[in-house]
Each structure stands twice: as structure tokens, then as C-alpha cells.
């Protein structure tokens, strides 16, 4: 059986199990989504949006969609993947199944819990009907595939005027109990008026079985709300991810997404911001450090539709060995979106001869009174800077690491959780294979 046939069979079985208490609308959404996926199939390199990233070899695997899991993972085995230095809410999944043992959810003042619960219980019906699958791109086949199988993930609903006092961690672990797993988490995040929440998301494979994650996250940032979202992608070489994140922002909201891509086999991020009001700020930051034959592809979109909004985009990449980077940054400024400030910068350093980067800024500006800029640099390490440090007694390896660290620094400065910043810095010094003897 081909993967598509396999998925069809799995979907039919899943569809049969839609129970009576499930929301009929959601079932319809799933069925429509699967029909769309069947029609479109997986994207190939012929699609403009997938020109530089091929899923071909990945799709040869016979992925299990809903693996039977023995959930025996203990906290001490996975502790290091948690931001355990500080108190947080935690929503943890193992092979796509919720682990109550590792989680810490709440309904006290706000909901930080499971999508499966929100889909099943009548009291969430209004929110689900209002938000579920409202911003996820229906014409996208990969997103449709996720929608068809959407069943589990994080459900976060923060009512208005609420500041969530501690960060929320969303962790997805995959174990070795079943080989070749396809997990499709679905997150729904609603941030009410004047509310504020910080979220850290991580996908982590615990063995070297082949894993493909196709994740969809919908975020609704209501008036004057603030959301800070951090994605840690530092997975094993057997793990690949397609991360689709869609954000809809209402007036005066500030949404920031920081993507740290340090590992995995293939990492594709589709990150899209849609504006529905004035005086909105969207921040997109990314640091990529990869080696061997790893690939990280950041596809972003900021759709400026209303006047007086701003977007700030900064992606930095360091590529070792024969690794590949893709950056496709689309900024649309519609006719009505006067006084838009849109800035985009993508800087890459290629360390080795076989590393490559495809960087494509795409600005479509239909308004005439706007400030938009984009910049793109691809270079190598600055030899003069290296010599400077070496002349002070710092050996080549350490000097290189310091320079690379300095290069990534402005994107690192955007992290607002100090413990997370320390953690990311440590991951970076591990990636650069140095111990600098101080917390940079």
C-alpha cells in the first residue's frame, strides 16, 4: 500500500469512530479536509512553495497514523527536554496520546488542556465552532491532512484581561514502541482581549525510529492581547516535521513567534500571520543551526490588510557540512494597509563548501504610503574578526563559535523568558561544540 492509500484506510476507520457526542460540524470539517487532501495529494517539487524541499524520500515510509502506545515513559527520562528550571503549565503527549502523568493542566481562570476534551464536551462547543479550523489554510493539502485527522493537541483559551502567570509548555514525544510514526498534533490557542500568554513548544523523538510530525496550530490573538510563542526544533536525525502555524490578530495585538531550528532531518515551517485590525504588531524571529544533510525550510507570510500595523522579521542561519536552508518570506501589503511598517531580514552563514541556502524575499505592496524593507545576506565567517580573536589568544574553534554566537545574538535577544534564553544558548554552544566557560 502506498502512503496515500494507507492514509485513506486510516481515515475511513477514524471516520467510523466519530461518536455521537462529537461535534457534527467538526466531523464535517474533517471529512471535507480529507476529500481535499485526496484530491491534492502531497506537494511535490513542482509546487512553487515546495521547490527547494522534497518530501519524496520521506513519503516512502509506511507510517502508522494512530499507533497503539504503551505509555511508560518516566519523567526522569524526558526531564531534560522540559524547561524544568521554572514553574510552568505542561501539556505533554507521547506518540500523540496525552500523558496526564507528565502534564500539568488547568481550568482555573483559564483553560490549558486538551483539544480532545474541548472537541468532546458541550461547554466548549461555542469556542470550537467559533475558532476551530477558521484560520488554518483550507487549500493547503498538508494542513488538510492534519485537519482530517485532528483529534488531539493543546487547547488553550485565555479569557479577557487575564495574564497567565507562568509559561505553558507543549511537548510532543515519540517513542520507539512503534516504528515509522506519523503524528498530527492540532493546537488551538485563543488569547482574549488584553490577555497575555507565553508558550514553548517542542517535538522530541526519543529513539531513532523514523517520525514525521505534521502539526497545525491555530492562534487567535484578540484585541490588545500579547502572545509570545517559542518553537524548539532540536530533534534527532530520524525525525522530520512540517509545522503549520496560522495566526489571526485583532487590533493592537502583539504576536511574536520565535523558531529555533537546530536539528531533525527535514524541518519545514509554514508560519502565516493575518491581520484583522489596526495597530497590530507581528514579530517573526528564527535561528537555524544545522549540519550534515539536514534541511530547514522557513516559509513565512505576513498579510497586512489594515492601516498602521507593523511586522518585524529576522531569520538567522548557520549551515555546516552539506546542510540546506530555505527562506521564503512573503509580505503582502494590501491597498488599504497604508502606514504599514514591514521589515524583513534574512542572514545566513555558510560554513562548509557543500552547504547551501535558497533565500527568497517576496514583497507584494499595493499601498503607496508604507515603509517596507527587506535584506538578505549570505556569507562566510569574517576572517578579520577571526584573526582579531585569535590574536588575543582565543583558539580557532572557540573564536569561530564566538563569532557565530555573535551573529545569532540579535535573534537570541528577543527571547523574553530568561531561563529559556539560557537553555537556547546552551543548545547553541553544544551545536558549536564549545564550552566558552561563561553564559553568553
Amino acid at each position: 500500500m502506498s502512503l496515500t492509500e494507507h492514509l485513506t484506510a486510516a481515515f475511513l476507520a477514524f471516520e467510523n469512530k466519530f461518536s455521537a457526542e462529537h461535534n457534527e460540524k467538526v466531523n464535517e470539517i474533517r471529512s471535507n479536509a480529507f476529500t481535499h487532501f485526496e484530491k491534492m495529494g502531497f506537494p511535490s517539487k513542482k509546487d512553487e512553495e515546495w521547490k527547494y524541499t522534497s518530501l519524496k524520500s520521506l513519503l516512502k515510509h509506511d507510517f502508522k497514523v494512530f499507533p497503539k502506545v504503551q505509555n511508560t515513559t518516566e519523567f526522569k527520562e524526558v526531564k531534560k527536554y522540559f524547561l524544568h528550571e521554572i514553574d510552568t503549565y505542561k501539556i505533554v503527549f507521547i506518540d500523540g496520546v496525552y500523558s496526564s502523568f507528565l502534564s500539568e493542566t488547568t481550568h482555573d481562570g483559564f483553560d490549558i488542556c486538551l483539544l480532545s476534551a474541548a472537541l468532546a464536551k458541550p461547554k466548549y462547543k461555542m469556542v470550537i465552532d467559533h475558532y476551530f479550523n477558521k484560520i488554518a489554510k483550507k487549500e493547503d493539502s498538508i494542513t488538510s491532512l492534519n485537519t482530517a485527522f485532528s483529534k488531539e493537541g493543546a487547547y488553550i483559551n485565555i479569557p479577557k484581561n487575564t495574564v497567565v502567570p507562568k509559561p505553558v509548555q507543549i511537548l510532543h514525544f515519540t517513542t520507539g514502541t512503534v516504528s515509522e510514526v506519523l503524528t498530527q498534533p492540532r493546537n488551538l490557542i485563543v488569547v482574549g482581549e488584553n490577555a497575555h500568554v507565553q508558550i514553548v513548544e517542542r517535538h522530541q523523538s526519543l529513539t531513532d525510529n523514523v517520525v514525521l510530525t505534521n502539526s497545525v496550530t491555530e492562534i487567535f490573538a484578540n484585541k490588545r492581547s500579547i502572545i509570545d510563542y517559542y518553537k524548539i526544533q532540536n530533534d534527532l536525525k530520524s525525525a522530520s516535521i512540517i509545522d503549520n502555524t496560522y495566526i489571526k490578530q485583532a487590533q493592537q495585538s502583539v504576536a511574536s513567534v520565535n523558531t529555533f531550528s537546530f536539528g531533525g532531518n527535514l524541518t519545514r515551517n509554514n508560519l502565516e500571520f493575518y491581520h484583522e485590525g489596526e495597530y497590530i504588531t507581528s514579530n517573526l524571529n528564527g535561528i537555524t543551526i544545522i549540519k550534515d544533510k539536514q534541511l530547514v525550510d522557513n516559509h513565512t507570510l505576513v498579510n497586512h490588510k489594515f492601516p498602521n500595523c507593523e511586522s518585524h522579521e529576522l531569520y538567522k542561519g548557520i549551515y555546516f557540512d552539506a546542510s540546506t536552508g530555505v527562506f521564503n518570506g512573503k509580505v503582502i501589503v494590501e491597498k488599504e494597509a497604508q502606514k504599514t511598517n514591514a521589515f524583513q531580514q534574512n542572514d545566513s552563514i555558510l560554513i562548509d563548501d557543500k552547504a547551501s541556502v535558497n533565500s527568497k524575499p517576496q514583497l507584494e505592496i499595493f499601498a503607496d504610503d508604507v515603509k517596507c524593507s527587506h535584506g538578505c545576506t549570505i556569507g562566510q565567517l569574517d576572517e578579520d574578526a577571526l584573526f582579531y580573536m585569535r590574536s588575543r589568544g582565543i583558539p580557532k574553534k572557540e573564536a569561530k563559535a564566538l563569532l557565530l554566537y555573535a551573529f545569532a545574538n540579535d535573534a537570541l535577544e528577543k527571547i523574553k523568558i530568561p531561563e529559556l534564553k539560557t537553555r537556547i544558548t546552551k543548545i547553541i554552544s553544544n551545536k558549536l561544540d564549545v564550552n566558552l566557560g561563561f553564559d553568553i
Binding site: F387, Y388, R390, S391, R392, G393, P395, L412, E413, F438
Partner: protein, 245 residues
């Protein structure tokens, strides 16, 4: 301390240094002057071991040891320090952390223990005072957003912290106003002792009013065309370089 014998060096197959001889003893200050493009900065870079330059003939010997095959960091560990004309900005790494790394890497190479936090702080306080550096300055990112004068002062501060045997000051006076120049020169003079040596590379005589050289050498087209005492600098100031060509 430093012996340079018939040194020839190329960059991209173009010969820049065409036979330089220099003998510098401990406790001495040598000034190297010359017009733009005469090879002054190249000489500094070659002594410090910049890899883009190829030494085609001759040698550089520090305390009896040929530096030929040594990397820049190894030369630094042996006690060579180059103060840059254009110091590099390193965002995200504070002055203190950079110096700490430099000191400890040098100590490690010389099989010494790492400097203790207490000793490091004490030394920083002492040397910062010497160069009239505000303590706040030390927690800023290295050279990032520093004025020209601050960068140069920071170079001499690093020199003070690293205590090199041979310090080469490449155009340290450029970008300094007269007050900053006095502070920097005063710092250098206090760091000078009978066991170390200093090479001052400068285009103008101005700096040499404050750092008095024992010898002055004039470099022209990759060769030392004249050497003399400190009065040679004054003569150059008066007559320019043309009379030497």
C-alpha cells in the same frame, strides 16, 4: 626579545615586505613610521601571524623561538599582542567575558590554572582605573557601538589585562582626541617595564610626543629605509617622507 631577519611577505602573490631587519630588546620602545601603503600594518599582521600573508623568506624570532609555523593564538600565548587599527565588534559578548576567555585560553596553553573570579575582578578594577574606563563599559558588548576612541582605549585595556611581552600598537592614535590620546599613552607608559617591549606603528609624530620611542624606523615600499633615535620622528614631521624616497 624579537629578531626579524630579512623578512619577505606576500599577499595574493604581491610582495609587500621586501626584506625587513629589526632587533628589539626587552625594555625598548620602537616606532615604525612611514607613508600610507609602505607596509606598516602588514608588518604588524605578519608578526601576529595573520594567515592571509605568506612569508616567503626570512624569519621572525621571539625569545629564540621561530614563530613561522605558529597560529595567531599560539603567538598570543607566547606573549605577542596586536592592538588593532580597526577592532572588531562582537555583539552579545561582553568586554569582561571576552577578556576572561582570552586570559584563560592563554593560561591553559601555558599550563596554568584559570584565573579566579576574585583575581580577575581585582585586575579589571586596577587596569580600568589606569585607563580611566567606566566599569559600566565592561559589561557592554565588545566594541559594539563604541566610538573610535572607546575602541582604542579598550584595545589598550586588553593589553593591560593580558600583559604581553611584545605589544604592537597599530595606529592606536587614529580616531583619538587629544585627551583620550593622553590617557592611552599614559596607560601604555605605565605598562612598559624592563621585561617587555613595544612597537608603535604610526603615521604621525603626535603619539610619539607621549610615548617616547628609543628607536624610530621609517618604512618605505616594504623596506626600512632609515633608522634613528626619537629625533628622527621630529625630522619626519618637519620634512615629510619625500626626502627619504
Amino acid at each position: 626579545m624579537l629578531k626579524i631577519k630579512n623578512l619577505h611577505a606576500n599577499i595574493n602573490d604581491k610582495e609587500i615586505l621586501k626584506g625587513i631587519d629589526l632587533d628589539i630588546k626587552a625594555g625598548e620602545v620602537h616606532a615604525i613610521m612611514g607613508p600610507n601603503g609602505s607596509g606598516k600594518s602588514t608588518l604588524a599582521s605578519v608578526i601576529a601571524g595573520k594567515e592571509e600573508y605568506e612569508v616567503t623568506k626570512g624569519n621572525v624570532i621571539l625569545n629564540g623561538e621561530d614563530l613561522d609555523d605558529m597560529a595567531p593564538d599560539e603567538r598570543a600565548h607566547k606573549g605577542i599582542f596586536l592592538s588593532f587599527q580597526y577592532p572588531v565588534e562582537i555583539p552579545g559578548v561582553s568586554v569582561t567575558n571576552f577578556i576572561k576567555t582570552a586570559i584563560n585560553e592563554t593560561r591553559k596553553a601555558n599550563k596554568q590554572e584559570e584565573i579566579s573570579a576574585k583575581d580577575l575582578l581585582k585586575k579589571i578594577r586596577e587596569k580600568a582605573e589606569l585607563l580611566e574606563i567606566d566599569r559600566k563599559f565592561l559589561s557592554r558588548s565588545l566594541n559594539e557601538g563604541f566610538s573610535g576612541g572607546e575602541k582604542k582605549r579598550n584595545e589598550i585595556f586588553q593589553m593591560a589585562m593580558l600583559e604581553p611581552k611584545l605589544a604592537i600598537l597599530d595606529e592606536t592614535d587614529s580616531g583619538l582626541d587629544i585627551d583620550a590620546l593622553k590617557i592611552v599613552a599614559n596607560g601604555v607608559n605605565k605598562l612598559k617595564n624592563k621585561d617587555n617591549a613595544i612597537i608603535v606603528i604610526t603615521h604621525y609624530q603626535r603619539l610619539l610626543d607621549y610615548i617616547i620611542p628609543d628607536y624610530v624606523h621609517v618604512l618605505h615600499q616594504g623596506k626600512i629605509v632609515k633608522s634613528g633615535g626619537k629625533e628622527l620622528a621630529l625630522e619626519l614631521e618637519e620634512k615629510g617622507y619625500d626626502w627619504l624616497k
